[in-house]
Each structure stands twice: as C-alpha cells, then as structure tokens.
Amino acid sequence: MKKVTLYALSTCPWCMKTKQFFKDNKVVFDFTDYDLAEEEEQQRIMSEMEKHGSNGSFPFIIIGNEVIVGYNPEKIAKALGLKK
C-alpha cells in the first residue's frame, strides 16, 4: 500500500471531502492541518509544498511519489489504484 499524506486546512471544505474520501475507501493516511500546526511545522510543510511548485493551495496530497493538488476523486483513485 502506498504511503498517503495529506496537508490540509481546517477551514477548507475540499480538504474535508478529501479526508472523507480516504475514510470511505478505507485508506490509511497521515494528515496535518497546516493552519493548526506550530510555526516550525508550517514552515516545513510550506517548504515541501514549494518544492512541488505549490503556492499554498490546499488540499495537498502525496500518494507514494505522486503529488496531487486539489480535490479530484478520479486522480486520487487512480493514484491509489482503487477499482471503480
């Protein structure tokens, strides 16, 4: 199973939908709400996002080696290898 990491905002409805998508599909995932994190952790997250060319848009999803920015169920399912 690929490692799944989600960087989210507690205020973001699409981040909530992403979390729900993972739960509905029984996907084990780590997540951090950027806005609720300590400053040091925020800097680490932003640095990682910037490496992938992101300007701070959430949700930011890492599935294995693949990065998906934004809530897109089709892309997420494909990256996870989920059957339709």
């Binding site: 905002l9 925020q42 701070g56 959430f58 920015v69 809530y71």
Partner: protein, 119 residues
C-alpha cells in the same frame, strides 16, 4: 455537496456573513462571476471567512495558506479572483469554489486544477 447548511450559533457571525455576501456579490458580478449555486458551500465558506477575518483581520480564502508574507497573503483576500484571473477562468471557479463563472449551472463537475496544469 450533500452537506447540511451550517448556520452559526453566533448572531454576530451570521450578520457579518450577510454583509460579506452582499459586498462580494457586487464585486464578483463585475468580474463575470457569481456565487456557486451550492448554497451549503456558500454558507460554509462564508462562515470560515468570517472566522478568519476575526482571527487575522481580513476574510482570507479558506482553502489557501497564509504564509506570513503580506504580498502573498493579500492576494488571497476574498474575492481573490483578480489576482488569479487566468487560473480561475480556466477552472470556471475560484479555488475554494465559492464563486463560479456566470454561465455555470452545475458546479459539481468543476474540479480544482493546480495553476501549473493550466495550459
């Protein structure tokens, strides 16, 4: 979105949501946008924006990060369409989906597309 409409228990938050709604409606109309027909999403995003305004001083986008750089952060004050015009026009919606192009009837089909994937 299948989400229940969330009304704040705080009358001050509800009052501010109405003020922002009226103001945003006029601004985005001139930009070729309108509020999404998804009323649950509108209620939720406005609620978050009022709370962000209470905490940080401006109604920032609830789906983009404040990074502490004023030049960056002021570009995500709602409605942030003018700062992301090409990107949002390509998606026919803003990043959080609060606003859609005026010709959009069914917003559920509009996906979030990162700027580097916009041709």
């Amino acid at each position: 979105m299948g989400r229940k409409i969330i009304m704040s228990a705080d009358p001050a938050v509800e009052a501010r949501k109405k003020v922002l709604h009226n103001y945003f409606e006029k601004v985005v109309d001139k930009l070729g946008y309108k509020f999404t027909p998804d009323t649950a999403l509108v209620e939720f995003c406005l609620e978050q924006e009022v709370k962000l305004e209470q905490k940080h001083g401006s109604p920032f986008c609830p789906c983009q990060a404040l990074i502490g750089n004023r030049e960056h952060d002021m570009k995500i004050v709602c409605p942030c369409i003018p700062f992301h015009r090409k990107h949002y026009d390509a998606m026919k919606r803003c990043w959080c989906g609060l606003f859609v192009h005026k010709d959009v009837t069914y917003p559920d089909k509009l996906m979030q597309i990162p700027p580097d994937e916009i041709k």
